[in-house]
Amino acid sequence: MSWLTGIMLVVAAGAGVLVVLSRDPKRQLFALFANGLVLSLLFFVLQAPDVALSEIVVGAVVVPLLFLVALAAIAVAKVRE
């Protein structure tokens, strides 16, 4: 295991903990985005560039965006009530 893999594993664990510890949904979203980014870097370091490409789009763009849209819809619906 190279030092780069070690660093990435520690950062990935840290990013995962950040997602769990952030309680505000908006902040949690950005933690989730950071987690997806870190995971895709980890896949890249582990020599799986094809998995990294899927992860960076699905984990760092699509999933946070779906939550972002849901939060926006909830916020507007609350004000309208």
Partner: protein, 257 residues
């Protein structure tokens, strides 16, 4: 359940499961060790048998093509379900603008943002096409290229804004892409049967090793997956973005929405 009871439950289950977890951990192969005989066999056989250099694509699109067809159908079902669920509650019409929180000012996009988004989205789009095209030669493939194309189309939203984005990205085109990709995949599986071969048998000429168009039916399947994934993912993104569009007729204050 109170927090104290939950903590006690966690402690008890940790102590109970620790021996089992430990026996698994010590029996695991060491980090980075290759233990897959299937992987070694694929690496040894496939370059000569299928003339492609990306073994992952060869396994996905040819050796285990049936499994990928199952995943493809799952994607199709998931996209169809999402679209039916969201459109059923909302209707199909579009409107001129996205919703906004009442009382919040909207900052105009600067020209720089629009310009950068157009450049970056174009580059990203062609990068996705590149990744999909070279799927049989280098790491990547139809799925990866498809999701990169979908994210490029999403990036346009940032620069163009809701109304313009909606006029560029057409839901009907996307659903045709998704459906046609899945259909093409099924046809590649079924057509060999008409010639008395096995389903998913590679009946096209294989081409020269490492050529962009080497791999026989894998080239077609790769293109089909790229179309289906690009169409399907963009359609999901589109339907979710539609959740944030303003209603066509603004309801009067106090009337409720």
């Amino acid at each position: 359940m109170r927090a104290r009871w939950r903590a006690a439950g966690l402690a008890v289950s940790t102590v109970a499961l620790l021996p089992a977890a430990w026996s698994v951990i010590v029996a695991m192969p060491s980090f980075g060790e290759h233990v897959s005989p299937y992987g070694a066999a694929v690496n040894a056989v496939v370059p000569a048998a299928r003339h492609v250099s990306n073994m992952v694509a060869a396994v996905n699109f040819d050796l285990r093509g049936l499994d990928t067809l199952g995943e493809e159908s799952m994607l199709l079902c998931a996209v169809t379900g999402t679209v039916v669920l969201l459109r059923g509650a909302r209707g199909e019409e579009t409107s001129g603008s996205a919703i906004r929180l009442p009382g919040r000012a909207i900052a105009q996009r600067s020209d720089a943002t629009i310009l950068i988004c157009r450049f970056a989205a174009t580059l990203l789009f062609f990068f996705g096409v590149y990744v999909a095209l070279h799927g049989l030669v280098t790491p990547g493939g139809g799925f990866q290229g498809g999701v990169v194309i979908a994210s490029a189309l999403l990036l346009l939203y940032l620069g163009e804004g809701y109304a313009h984005w909606r006029s560029i990205v057409r839901g009907r085109v996307l659903s045709v892409l998704e459906g046609a990709g899945a259909l093409l995949f099924v046809l590649v599986g079924l057509i060999p049967l008409a010639f008395g071969k096995a389903a998913f048998q590679n009946i096209l000429p294989l081409g020269t090793f490492r050529d962009l168009y080497a791999g026989g039916t894998m080239v077609v399947v790769n293109a089909a997956v790229a179309c289906a994934v690009a169409g399907g993912f963009t359609l999901i993104l589109l339907e979710f973005m539609e959740e944030t569009r303003a209603p066509e007729t603004e309801t009067e204050p106090g009337e409720g929405g």
